[in-house]
Symmetry: C2
Subunit: 151 residues, 2 copies
DNA sequence: GACATATAGTTAGTTATGCAACTAATATAA
DNA sequence: TTATATTAGTTGCATAACTAACTATATGTC
C-alpha cells in the first residue's frame, strides 16, 4: 500500500473532477447570461489564438489537451460561427493554420472579464497559498500521467 | 481586484480541469487494458450502487453530479449491458429504483483495484498533506459555486 | 525516381453532456 | 373533489469526447 493511496470513499470525487467541471459550467452560464453564444470548449481554442494567432490544428490540440479529431470538429464549429478561418500553410499543405476573424477579436476582452468574474466566484475564501498548492499538484498529476506511456 | 484572482495566463488550465481529465482517461485506459468494457461514467454510477444499491435515478444524479437527462441515458446504457435494472417504486410510481445485476456485482473488486492503481500512478511523489489541501480546496470551490444560484 | 513510412487532418461510429419541452404520477389547495 | 402545481423521468436537439480507419501530402531510403 503506497502511502499516497486514496481511501476508496475518496476516489470518486477526485476522478470525477466535479469542482473543475462546476467552474467550467459556471463560466458557460456567465457567457450565456452575457449573450455570448460560444461554448467553453470553443473559448479554450480562441484563448490560445488570442495569445498566438495562426497556430496549426495540431498545435491547438496540444495546447488545449485534445486529440486531432476533437480539434477538427471544434474548429468546424468555430468556422461555422465565422470566428476563425483555416488557411493551408504555404510550406506544407498538410497543415491548416487557424486564424481569428474580425468577429472573434473583440470577444477577447469581454470573455476575459467573465473568466475573471468566474474565478472570483469560484475562489472565494481560498488563500493564495492554497491556490498555489492546487495548481502545483494538478500539474504534477498531469505530468505523472503524460510523461510516460502506459505499458 | 481580489487577491484570489488568477492571472490571465493561469486561467485556462484550471477551468479546463486537464489533470482530473487525465486521471479519468488513464482509468478508462486501465479498464480497457483489463478487458472491461465499461466507461468511467458508467463506473461512477456502479460505484455508488455498490455503496448503496437501489437508489433512485435522481439520487444517483445528485451523487454523481449529473442532471436527470444525463442520468437517464447513462442508465439506459448500463441496462443495455445488463449491469443494472430499473424497478418502479411501490410507494411512488414516478420513481425508478436502480439495482445492480449479478453481472455487475463481481466487477466491484477488479474495478476498485484498477482505480487504486490509477490513483497510485497519478499521485506519485505527491504528499499526503498536499493531497489534503487539494481535496479541501476543490470541495470549497464546488461549494462556492453550488451553494447559491447565479442571479 | 519509386516505394515505404510518417504526419496533418477528416470522417464514421459510439458515448456522454446540457438545456428545454414533454409525460405521467403525486401532492396541494380551493 | 376537482383544478393546479410539483416531482421523476424521458425525449429531442446541439455540442463535444475518444478510437479507429481513412485521405492527402511530405519525407526518407534504396
Amino acid at each position: 500500500m503506497s502511502n499516497n493511496q486514496f481511501k476508496r470513499g475518496e476516489l470518486y470525487s477526485v476522478i470525477n473532477g466535479m469542482a473543475t467541471t462546476a467552474v467550467a459550467r459556471r463560466l458557460q452560464k456567465n457567457f450565456r447570461n452575457a449573450g455570448l453564444e460560444i461554448t467553453i470548449e470553443q473559448w479554450s481554442v480562441l484563448y490560445h489564438l488570442w495569445k498566438e494567432d495562426g497556430l496549426s490544428q495540431l498545435e491547438l490540440g496540444n495546447r488545449t489537451f485534445r486529440d486531432k479529431a476533437s480539434t477538427t470538429r471544434l474548429i468546424d464549429n468555430l468556422e461555422k460561427q465565422e470566428l476563425v478561418t483555416r488557411v493551408a500553410s504555404k510550406d506544407d499543405r498538410r497543415i491548416n493554420l487557424v486564424y481569428l476573424t474580425d468577429i472573434a477579436k473583440p470577444l477577447q476582452q469581454i470573455t476575459y472579464e467573465l473568466a475573471n468574474k468566474t474565478m472570483n466566484e469560484s475562489l472565494q475564501n481560498i488563500s493564495k497559498e492554497e491556490i498555489e498548492v492546487v495548481k502545483n499538484v494538478l500539474q504534477r498529476v498531469y505530468d505523472n500521467l503524460t510523461s510516460k506511456d502506459l505499458i
